[in-house]
């Protein structure tokens, strides 16, 4: 099964050289605590989320899942919206392999798109595995979406124009959220922006084997994340599609999807397969496989030419979706 990995894009390879001190391909369960306390997470706390005053940022505690603790939402509202009336809402779900991160991680990406689109951003903080295994994370994410849809007008948002967006584990949770709202008849997002999403707990695709020990988030790290979420059930016959969307048998009736992934990452094959299955189910999906991209490359090295192209593609899709 193993084979030579595709080469990294030259600029991304150089960027990886620069951050190799801070990030390694693998992650074991013992590493989780240390990474949570490490500089990577701390850096997100120091970021200016107002984007130089373009957004008002507030945190709100809202009702969590029935019988569960409250959920915290980070809400970013444009300080000077160019349009009157309710704005589109980007509902953001952070990444971190189901075990790391908080509502601030990666939210600048969502805010940057929202600045271009004149949109409100809501970023949900969900409980993390392994302390809180499935279904805690997806239920928190669902509860946050319910509140957002019901209280959209309060935050200047339009409940009919909610787009869910997430990268990595956040992308997987967004795909699960789309399945869950379809099945529960909950608030229906108009699109799902799934960036290098974590979809398949089986962790057994050719790309997962091919990229072992290379780049960012390899097969070992992926096993750590999924096992934290699912315990012994990981890879077995009894995994819910709301945990691992690749397990869903029915992919009909979902909102239009944008999916992307690097050619040099663990998730390549599961993302391509998921996009194909969306089309096979009669769905609407746009798929980009960025050549030589490692996992999360556009977040780690936003200046690289490939990252600029990826972000331009995200934004172009969002604009088409919103008809602006």
């Amino acid at each position: 099964m193993t084979s030579v990995p595709p080469p990294f894009d030259p600029e991304l390879a150089a960027a990886l050289e620069l951050i190799k001190e801070f990030i390694s391909p693998g992650m074991s369960p013992e590493d989780i605590e240390e990474i949570r306390r490490g500089p990577m997470i701390l850096q997100s706390m120091q970021m200016d989320l107002t984007l130089d005053g373009a957004f008002d940022i507030e945190d709100r505690e809202v009702a969590g899942p029935v019988g569960e603790p409250a959920v915290t939402l980070l809400i970013g509202r444009p300080t000077a919206p160019a349009t009157t009336g309710p704005l589109p809402v980007i509902y953001h779900v952070h990444g971190g392999g189901m075990v790391l991160g908080d509502r601030r991680v990666g939210v600048t990406g969502a805010l940057e798109y929202a600045r271009e689109l004149d949109a409100v951003v809501v970023s949900v903080e969900y409980r993390l595995a392994p302390e809180h295994p499935h279904p805690a994370p997806i239920e928190d994410v669902y509860a946050g979406l319910l509140w957002t849809a019901e209280h959209a007008k309060e935050i200047g948002g339009d409940p009919e124009r909610i787009i869910v967006m997430g990268a990595s584990a956040g992308g997987g949770l967004c795909a699960a959220l789309a399945l869950l709202t379809r099945d529960r008849g909950g608030p229906r997002p108009i699109g799902q922006l799934l960036l290098c999403p974590m979809l398949d707990d089986r962790n057994d695709t050719p790309s997962a084997h091919q990229m072992a020990g290379v780049g960012v988030w390899d097969r070992t790290a992926n096993e750590t994340g999924w096992t934290a979420l699912l315990g012994d059930r990981r890879g077995g016959p009894d995994v819910s599609p709301y945990a691992a969307p690749a397990r869903a048998e029915d992919l009909t009736g979902l909102p239009p999807a944008f999916l992307d992934v690097g050619s040099a990452e663990t998730f390549r094959d599961e993302v391509v397969t998921y996009a194909s299955r969306l089309w096979q189910a009669g769905g609407v999906a746009e798929l980009h496989v960025w050549p030589g991209g490692f996992h999360g490359f556009d977040g780690f090295a936003p200046q690289a030419a490939l990252s600029q192209a990826a972000r331009a593609a995200h934004l172009a899709w969002l604009r088409r979706l919103l008809g602006s």
Binding site: A14, V105, A305
Partner: protein
């Protein structure tokens, strides 16, 4: 995991930064990144716009600190930190740092490393500009210099030392410093280590087609005047190519009526003739046949050019065409020359003796 390591941002000017800069550009060089990626690397790591201006090759690339390409027609500000790509040349890499900013070691390392790789890429993609730093060339050609120093000099001169297939040769002019030129990787039809000619080849064979995409020196890029050209060798063997080039230079001539012969000689093409170089010392008493030639030439100004044409062309008819005289005029001249020399030049042995005499005449010069 996305974004958990934080974003790639401008480096802190601490001790570790220089190492990171070196690692970054080495990696770009390894994966053969293009010019824009290199200029972007400089801009992102320095945290200010960077621009590459190579007026000679009409290259202009400007990238802002956030990685976006935004070219500018305005001239660079001379107060910005910069690194010249060619000594004294108009080509340089610039960091658009305001005058108030203190000079920074990290900026200097960024400029030096980025410019080194930019030069490699320009040479690879746009052809070589003949402007070598004489001190670097001297180090590269010094067999007693440490290998590391020679490799460093080679890198700075734009040779791809990481690639074991890289070949270069030395061009030795008469009264100027030697130059190093990259030899084409694939010599196409000519195979087997034969030099790719940049001037009429002394053996008169068919000229091989220029190979791509290696930068080929062309006639116009080679210096004027007499040139000895050494064999294409691996980078660390260049002292040997230089020795051979200097020997080849002794076989050259001005190509004038008073000093007829080849202006450019390839060491590779000399074959066994090269042995003569050891037998005839420069400035020493020349062999008798050379004496005879000089004495005869003193009596007949046309003699050397005429005899050279006979020695260098395949037939007397071709020789007559070469020096632009009628065939019968040539026959008359040769009869006269043979009487002055005291030996025939139109027999096979006589022709060889003539060729040797003309060659030794060049070698005997001081």
């Amino acid at each position: 995991m996305k974004e958990l390591a934080g974003r790639l941002t401008a480096l802190d000017p601490d001790a570790g930064a220089a190492v990171q800069v070196i690692g970054y550009f080495d990696r770009l060089a390894e994966s053969r990144a293009g010019l824009e990626a290199l200029v972007r690397g400089a801009a992102v790591l320095a945290g200010c716009p960077a621009r590459l201006v190579d007026a000679e090759r009409r290259v202009r690339v400007r990238v802002e600190a956030d990685g976006t390409r935004r070219d500018s027609e305005s001239p660079p500000d001379p107060s910005w930190p910069s690194f010249a790509l060619t000594p004294g040349g108009a080509s340089a890499l610039w960091l658009e740092r305001t005058a108030e900013a203190a000079p920074s070691v990290v900026d200097a390392v960024i400029l030096e490393r980025a410019a080194g790789v930019v030069r490699l890429v320009l040479d690879r993609t746009r052809g070589r500009v003949p402007a070598d730093d004489p001190e670097l060339v001297e180090t590269l050609l010094d067999a007693t210099a440490p290998e590391q120093a020679r490799l460093h000099a080679a890198r700075r001169l734009g040779l791809d030392v990481a690639d074991p297939a890289t070949r270069a040769r030395v061009v030795a002019p008469l009264d100027r410093p030697p130059r190093v030129v990259v030899a084409p990787r694939d010599t196409g039809t000519c195979g087997g280590g034969r030099p790719v000619s940049v001037a009429p080849h002394p053996d008169g064979g068919p000229q091989p087609a220029p190979a791509h995409p290696q930068p080929l020196p062309t006639d116009t890029e080679l210096p004027a005047g007499r040139l000895g050209i050494g064999p294409a060798v691996p980078v660390l063997d260049l002292p040997r190519s230089w020795a051979a080039a200097r020997t080849a230079l002794r076989f050259t001539a001005d190509g004038t009526a008073q000093d007829p012969g080849e202006r450019i000689v390839y060491a590779d093409a000399l074959g066994g003739i090269v042995l003569l170089a050891d037998l005839v010392a420069p400035g020493a008493e020349p062999p008798p046949d050379v004496h005879d030639l000089e004495a005869a030439a003193a009596n007949a100004p046309w003699l050397l050019a005429t005899l050279n044409a006979v020695a260098a062309t395949p037939s007397l008819r071709a020789a007559a065409t070469e020096i632009n005289v009628h065939h019968s005029t040539l026959q008359d001249r040769l009869t006269h020359a043979e009487s002055l020399l005291g030996w025939p030049v139109r027999t096979p042995q006589g022709r060889l003796r003539l060729q040797l005499a003309l060659t030794m005449r060049h070698l005997a010069r001081p």
